[in-house]
Amino acid sequence: MAKLQMANAAASRLESAIAEVEHHAGDGGANASLAAAVAELAAELQSSMMELRSIGAGRIGAEDIPTASDELDAIVEVTASATGAILDACELVEDAAANLSGDALTDALIDATSSIYQACSFQDLTGQRVTKVVTTLRRIDARVSAICALFGLEATDLAAGTESEPADPNDEARLLNGPALPDQAMSQDDIDKILGDSD
Protein backbone atom coordinates (compact mmCIF):
# COMPACT_ATOMS: atom_id res chain seq x y z
CA MET A 1 0.00 0.00 0.00
CA ALA A 2 2.87 2.37 0.84
CA LYS A 3 4.41 2.00 -2.61
CA LEU A 4 1.04 2.62 -4.34
CA GLN A 5 0.53 5.75 -2.26
CA MET A 6 4.03 6.89 -3.18
CA ALA A 7 3.27 6.35 -6.86
CA ASN A 8 -0.02 8.28 -6.51
CA ALA A 9 1.81 11.07 -4.71
CA ALA A 10 4.44 11.18 -7.44
CA ALA A 11 1.72 11.44 -10.11
CA SER A 12 0.07 14.27 -8.14
CA ARG A 13 3.38 16.14 -7.83
CA LEU A 14 3.90 15.68 -11.57
CA GLU A 15 0.48 17.17 -12.24
CA SER A 16 1.26 20.13 -9.96
CA ALA A 17 4.55 20.68 -11.75
CA ILE A 18 2.77 20.56 -15.10
CA ALA A 19 0.21 23.10 -13.88
CA GLU A 20 3.10 25.31 -12.76
CA VAL A 21 4.77 25.04 -16.18
CA GLU A 22 1.52 25.79 -17.96
CA HIS A 23 0.93 28.81 -15.70
CA HIS A 24 4.33 30.26 -16.56
CA ALA A 25 4.35 29.08 -20.20
CA GLY A 26 2.83 32.25 -21.65
CA ASP A 27 3.04 32.03 -25.39
CA GLY A 28 5.92 29.48 -25.19
CA GLY A 29 4.42 26.80 -27.50
CA ALA A 30 7.21 24.20 -26.85
CA ASN A 31 6.78 24.35 -23.08
CA ALA A 32 3.01 24.04 -23.45
CA SER A 33 3.39 20.99 -25.73
CA LEU A 34 5.84 19.36 -23.31
CA ALA A 35 3.52 20.06 -20.41
CA ALA A 36 0.61 18.52 -22.29
CA ALA A 37 2.61 15.42 -23.18
CA VAL A 38 3.81 14.89 -19.62
CA ALA A 39 0.27 15.49 -18.31
CA GLU A 40 -0.96 12.77 -20.60
CA LEU A 41 1.76 10.42 -19.36
CA ALA A 42 0.86 11.12 -15.74
CA ALA A 43 -2.80 10.40 -16.46
CA GLU A 44 -1.86 7.12 -18.20
CA LEU A 45 0.30 6.09 -15.28
CA GLN A 46 -2.47 6.70 -12.77
CA SER A 47 -5.02 4.94 -14.95
CA SER A 48 -2.76 1.87 -15.35
CA MET A 49 -2.14 1.64 -11.64
CA MET A 50 -5.85 1.90 -10.87
CA GLU A 51 -6.60 -0.79 -13.44
CA LEU A 52 -3.99 -3.15 -12.03
CA ARG A 53 -5.40 -2.51 -8.62
CA SER A 54 -8.96 -3.28 -9.72
CA ILE A 55 -8.15 -6.55 -11.54
CA GLY A 56 -6.18 -7.88 -8.59
CA ALA A 57 -3.07 -8.60 -10.63
CA GLY A 58 -1.07 -9.23 -7.49
CA ARG A 59 -3.56 -11.79 -6.31
CA ILE A 60 -3.38 -13.57 -9.67
CA GLY A 61 0.34 -14.03 -9.25
CA ALA A 62 0.28 -14.74 -5.52
CA GLU A 63 -2.75 -17.04 -5.31
CA ASP A 64 -4.62 -17.97 -8.49
CA ILE A 65 -1.74 -19.25 -10.63
CA PRO A 66 -0.04 -21.20 -7.82
CA THR A 67 -3.43 -22.75 -6.96
CA ALA A 68 -3.99 -23.75 -10.60
CA SER A 69 -0.56 -25.34 -10.91
CA ASP A 70 -1.03 -27.18 -7.57
CA GLU A 71 -4.28 -28.60 -8.91
CA LEU A 72 -2.58 -29.75 -12.11
CA ASP A 73 0.22 -31.39 -10.15
CA ALA A 74 -2.43 -33.20 -8.13
CA ILE A 75 -4.02 -34.46 -11.35
CA VAL A 76 -0.75 -35.99 -12.46
CA GLU A 77 -0.21 -37.59 -9.05
CA VAL A 78 -3.71 -39.04 -8.80
CA THR A 79 -3.81 -40.40 -12.34
CA ALA A 80 -0.41 -42.02 -11.82
CA SER A 81 -1.66 -43.66 -8.64
CA ALA A 82 -4.90 -44.85 -10.26
CA THR A 83 -3.02 -46.22 -13.26
CA GLY A 84 -0.75 -48.11 -10.88
CA ALA A 85 -3.79 -49.70 -9.25
CA ILE A 86 -5.17 -50.72 -12.66
CA LEU A 87 -1.86 -52.28 -13.62
CA ASP A 88 -1.66 -54.14 -10.29
CA ALA A 89 -5.09 -55.63 -10.96
CA CYS A 90 -4.06 -56.57 -14.50
CA GLU A 91 -1.05 -58.43 -13.19
CA LEU A 92 -3.25 -60.40 -10.82
CA VAL A 93 -5.52 -61.31 -13.74
CA GLU A 94 -2.51 -62.40 -15.76
CA ASP A 95 -1.25 -64.58 -12.91
CA ALA A 96 -4.69 -66.13 -12.50
CA ALA A 97 -4.96 -66.68 -16.27
CA ALA A 98 -1.68 -68.56 -16.25
CA ASN A 99 -3.19 -71.10 -13.85
CA LEU A 100 -6.29 -71.74 -15.93
CA SER A 101 -6.64 -74.70 -18.15
CA GLY A 102 -7.91 -73.97 -21.60
CA ASP A 103 -5.70 -72.08 -24.00
CA ALA A 104 -8.57 -70.09 -25.52
CA LEU A 105 -9.61 -68.62 -22.17
CA THR A 106 -6.03 -67.92 -21.15
CA ASP A 107 -5.33 -66.22 -24.47
CA ALA A 108 -8.49 -64.13 -24.20
CA LEU A 109 -7.55 -62.95 -20.73
CA ILE A 110 -3.97 -62.19 -21.69
CA ASP A 111 -5.19 -60.23 -24.74
CA ALA A 112 -7.55 -58.25 -22.55
CA THR A 113 -4.83 -57.36 -20.07
CA SER A 114 -2.55 -56.33 -22.95
CA SER A 115 -5.25 -53.94 -24.15
CA ILE A 116 -5.51 -52.49 -20.66
CA TYR A 117 -1.75 -51.98 -20.43
CA GLN A 118 -1.85 -50.18 -23.76
CA ALA A 119 -4.76 -47.98 -22.69
CA CYS A 120 -2.97 -47.11 -19.44
CA SER A 121 -0.26 -45.37 -21.40
CA PHE A 122 -2.77 -42.46 -21.41
CA GLN A 123 -1.46 -41.55 -18.00
CA ASP A 124 2.05 -40.97 -19.30
CA LEU A 125 0.80 -38.75 -22.15
CA THR A 126 -1.61 -36.89 -19.86
CA GLY A 127 1.18 -36.32 -17.37
CA GLN A 128 3.44 -34.86 -20.05
CA ARG A 129 0.74 -32.51 -21.35
CA VAL A 130 -0.19 -31.33 -17.88
CA THR A 131 3.47 -30.71 -17.07
CA LYS A 132 3.71 -28.51 -20.16
CA VAL A 133 0.69 -26.49 -19.00
CA VAL A 134 2.17 -26.13 -15.51
CA THR A 135 5.44 -24.84 -17.01
CA THR A 136 3.49 -22.27 -19.06
CA LEU A 137 1.51 -21.16 -16.01
CA ARG A 138 4.68 -20.67 -14.01
CA ARG A 139 6.16 -18.52 -16.81
CA ILE A 140 2.99 -16.39 -16.81
CA ASP A 141 3.20 -16.16 -13.03
CA ALA A 142 6.78 -14.85 -13.27
CA ARG A 143 5.76 -12.18 -15.79
CA VAL A 144 2.77 -11.05 -13.73
CA SER A 145 5.03 -10.76 -10.69
CA ALA A 146 7.53 -8.71 -12.72
CA ILE A 147 4.78 -6.32 -13.88
CA CYS A 148 3.54 -5.92 -10.33
CA ALA A 149 7.09 -5.22 -9.13
CA LEU A 150 7.51 -2.62 -11.91
CA PHE A 151 4.47 -0.74 -10.65
CA GLY A 152 5.51 -1.25 -7.06
CA LEU A 153 2.36 -3.26 -6.36
CA GLU A 154 2.39 -5.86 -3.62
CA ALA A 155 -0.07 -8.78 -3.50
CA THR A 156 -1.36 -7.59 -0.12
CA ASP A 157 -1.84 -4.03 -1.45
CA LEU A 158 -3.97 -5.28 -4.30
CA ALA A 159 -5.89 -7.85 -2.29
CA ALA A 160 -6.85 -5.09 0.13
CA GLY A 161 -7.87 -2.79 -2.70
CA THR A 162 -10.06 -5.18 -4.68
CA GLU A 163 -13.79 -4.69 -4.34
CA SER A 164 -15.39 -7.83 -3.06
CA GLU A 165 -18.85 -8.30 -1.73
CA PRO A 166 -19.17 -9.75 1.74
CA ALA A 167 -19.77 -13.51 1.56
CA ASP A 168 -23.43 -14.48 1.90
CA PRO A 169 -23.54 -17.23 4.54
CA ASN A 170 -26.58 -18.71 2.76
CA ASP A 171 -24.82 -18.88 -0.63
CA GLU A 172 -24.09 -22.51 -1.52
CA ALA A 173 -21.34 -21.39 -3.92
CA ARG A 174 -18.92 -21.08 -0.98
CA LEU A 175 -19.36 -24.84 -0.42
CA LEU A 176 -18.54 -25.84 -4.00
CA ASN A 177 -14.76 -26.25 -4.02
CA GLY A 178 -14.27 -29.61 -5.73
CA PRO A 179 -11.69 -32.17 -4.59
CA ALA A 180 -9.20 -30.89 -2.04
CA LEU A 181 -5.45 -31.18 -2.68
CA PRO A 182 -4.13 -34.49 -1.29
CA ASP A 183 -2.43 -32.91 1.73
CA GLN A 184 -5.56 -30.89 2.62
CA ALA A 185 -8.30 -33.51 2.15
CA MET A 186 -10.27 -34.86 5.11
CA SER A 187 -10.26 -38.62 5.55
CA GLN A 188 -13.45 -40.71 5.72
CA ASP A 189 -12.71 -41.24 9.45
CA ASP A 190 -12.64 -37.47 10.06
CA ILE A 191 -15.95 -37.11 8.23
CA ASP A 192 -17.48 -39.94 10.22
CA LYS A 193 -16.52 -38.13 13.45
CA ILE A 194 -18.35 -34.98 12.33
CA LEU A 195 -21.40 -37.04 11.43
CA GLY A 196 -21.18 -38.89 14.70
CA ASP A 197 -21.22 -42.06 12.65
CA SER A 198 -20.29 -45.36 14.22
CA ASP A 199 -20.22 -48.32 11.84
Binding site: L176, N177, A180, M186, Q188, I194, L195, D199
Partner: protein, 127 residues
Protein backbone atom coordinates in the same frame (compact mmCIF):
# COMPACT_ATOMS: atom_id res chain seq x y z
CA UNK B 1 -26.68 -56.48 5.92
CA UNK B 2 -29.96 -57.91 4.63
CA UNK B 3 -30.03 -57.21 0.93
CA UNK B 4 -33.35 -56.67 -0.83
CA UNK B 5 -32.31 -57.34 -4.41
CA UNK B 6 -35.17 -55.37 -5.90
CA UNK B 7 -35.02 -52.41 -3.54
CA UNK B 8 -35.33 -49.37 -5.82
CA UNK B 9 -32.27 -47.16 -5.59
CA UNK B 10 -31.62 -43.87 -7.38
CA UNK B 11 -28.01 -42.86 -8.04
CA UNK B 12 -27.23 -39.30 -9.12
CA UNK B 13 -23.96 -38.04 -10.61
CA UNK B 14 -23.05 -35.86 -13.59
CA UNK B 15 -20.04 -38.06 -14.34
CA UNK B 16 -21.10 -41.20 -16.24
CA UNK B 17 -18.06 -43.22 -15.16
CA UNK B 18 -18.98 -42.65 -11.51
CA UNK B 19 -22.57 -43.77 -12.19
CA UNK B 20 -21.10 -46.94 -13.74
CA UNK B 21 -18.79 -47.55 -10.79
CA UNK B 22 -21.52 -47.09 -8.16
CA UNK B 23 -23.97 -49.24 -10.11
CA UNK B 24 -21.37 -52.04 -10.42
CA UNK B 25 -20.53 -51.84 -6.71
CA UNK B 26 -24.21 -51.99 -5.77
CA UNK B 27 -24.58 -55.02 -8.04
CA UNK B 28 -21.63 -56.73 -6.32
CA UNK B 29 -23.37 -56.14 -2.97
CA UNK B 30 -26.62 -57.54 -4.40
CA UNK B 31 -28.72 -54.53 -5.33
CA UNK B 32 -29.96 -54.75 -8.90
CA UNK B 33 -32.85 -52.32 -9.16
CA UNK B 34 -30.87 -49.14 -9.78
CA UNK B 35 -31.93 -46.04 -11.73
CA UNK B 36 -29.69 -43.15 -12.70
CA UNK B 37 -29.93 -39.39 -13.03
CA UNK B 38 -27.25 -36.92 -14.09
CA UNK B 39 -28.15 -34.01 -11.82
CA UNK B 40 -30.49 -32.98 -9.04
CA UNK B 41 -33.34 -31.73 -11.20
CA UNK B 42 -33.39 -34.91 -13.34
CA UNK B 43 -33.33 -36.91 -10.09
CA UNK B 44 -36.27 -34.94 -8.72
CA UNK B 45 -38.33 -35.80 -11.80
CA UNK B 46 -37.63 -39.50 -11.27
CA UNK B 47 -38.38 -39.20 -7.54
CA UNK B 48 -41.78 -37.69 -8.30
CA UNK B 49 -42.63 -40.61 -10.60
CA UNK B 50 -41.41 -43.52 -8.48
CA UNK B 51 -40.89 -44.42 -4.83
CA UNK B 52 -37.22 -45.04 -4.13
CA UNK B 53 -35.93 -46.58 -0.92
CA UNK B 54 -32.45 -45.08 -1.15
CA UNK B 55 -30.85 -42.10 -2.88
CA UNK B 56 -27.09 -41.94 -3.47
CA UNK B 57 -26.02 -38.59 -4.85
CA UNK B 58 -23.01 -36.53 -5.82
CA UNK B 59 -22.94 -32.90 -4.61
CA UNK B 60 -21.35 -30.70 -7.25
CA UNK B 61 -23.75 -30.87 -10.23
CA UNK B 62 -25.62 -28.42 -12.38
CA UNK B 63 -28.26 -27.10 -12.64
CA UNK B 64 -29.27 -28.60 -9.28
CA UNK B 65 -26.65 -29.69 -6.75
CA UNK B 66 -26.86 -32.71 -4.47
CA UNK B 67 -27.40 -30.44 -1.45
CA UNK B 68 -30.33 -28.71 -3.17
CA UNK B 69 -31.74 -32.14 -4.09
CA UNK B 70 -31.41 -33.27 -0.47
CA UNK B 71 -33.28 -30.19 0.75
CA UNK B 72 -36.03 -30.76 -1.84
CA UNK B 73 -36.37 -34.39 -0.75
CA UNK B 74 -36.50 -33.52 2.95
CA UNK B 75 -39.17 -30.87 2.35
CA UNK B 76 -41.45 -33.23 0.41
CA UNK B 77 -44.00 -35.05 2.58
CA UNK B 78 -43.87 -38.22 0.45
CA UNK B 79 -40.09 -38.49 0.15
CA UNK B 80 -38.80 -36.86 3.31
CA UNK B 81 -37.91 -40.11 5.09
CA UNK B 82 -35.96 -41.59 2.13
CA UNK B 83 -32.42 -42.48 3.17
CA UNK B 84 -29.92 -40.21 1.40
CA UNK B 85 -26.18 -40.84 1.10
CA UNK B 86 -23.94 -38.12 -0.34
CA UNK B 87 -20.89 -39.39 -2.28
CA UNK B 88 -18.74 -36.40 -3.15
CA UNK B 89 -15.29 -34.93 -3.54
CA UNK B 90 -16.32 -32.00 -1.31
CA UNK B 91 -14.42 -32.82 1.87
CA UNK B 92 -14.30 -29.68 4.03
CA UNK B 93 -15.82 -29.83 7.51
CA UNK B 94 -18.37 -27.13 6.61
CA UNK B 95 -19.62 -29.33 3.77
CA UNK B 96 -20.26 -32.23 6.12
CA UNK B 97 -21.93 -29.93 8.64
CA UNK B 98 -24.21 -28.39 5.98
CA UNK B 99 -25.16 -31.81 4.65
CA UNK B 100 -25.87 -33.04 8.17
CA UNK B 101 -28.04 -29.96 8.85
CA UNK B 102 -29.94 -30.64 5.63
CA UNK B 103 -30.66 -34.19 6.79
CA UNK B 104 -28.11 -36.44 5.04
CA UNK B 105 -27.97 -39.96 6.44
CA UNK B 106 -24.35 -40.57 5.55
CA UNK B 107 -21.49 -38.91 3.70
CA UNK B 108 -18.81 -40.67 1.67
CA UNK B 109 -15.81 -38.75 0.36
CA UNK B 110 -14.33 -39.58 -3.06
CA UNK B 111 -12.21 -41.55 -3.79
CA UNK B 112 -13.86 -44.37 -1.86
CA UNK B 113 -13.66 -48.14 -1.94
CA UNK B 114 -16.27 -50.87 -2.09
CA UNK B 115 -15.90 -51.64 1.62
CA UNK B 116 -16.70 -48.06 2.62
CA UNK B 117 -19.83 -48.04 0.46
CA UNK B 118 -20.91 -51.40 1.88
CA UNK B 119 -20.38 -50.22 5.47
CA UNK B 120 -22.26 -46.94 4.96
CA UNK B 121 -25.13 -48.73 3.22
CA UNK B 122 -25.39 -51.19 6.09
CA UNK B 123 -25.40 -48.30 8.57
CA UNK B 124 -28.10 -46.35 6.74
CA UNK B 125 -30.38 -49.28 5.92
CA UNK B 126 -30.22 -50.67 9.44
CA UNK B 127 -31.42 -47.37 10.90
Amino acid sequence: MAVKKNMPILIVDDYKTMLRIVRNLLKQIGFENVDEATDGSAALEKLRDKDYELIISDWNMEPMTGLQLLKEVRSDERMKATPFIMITAESKPENVVEAKKAGVNNYIVKPFNAETLRAKLANVLAA
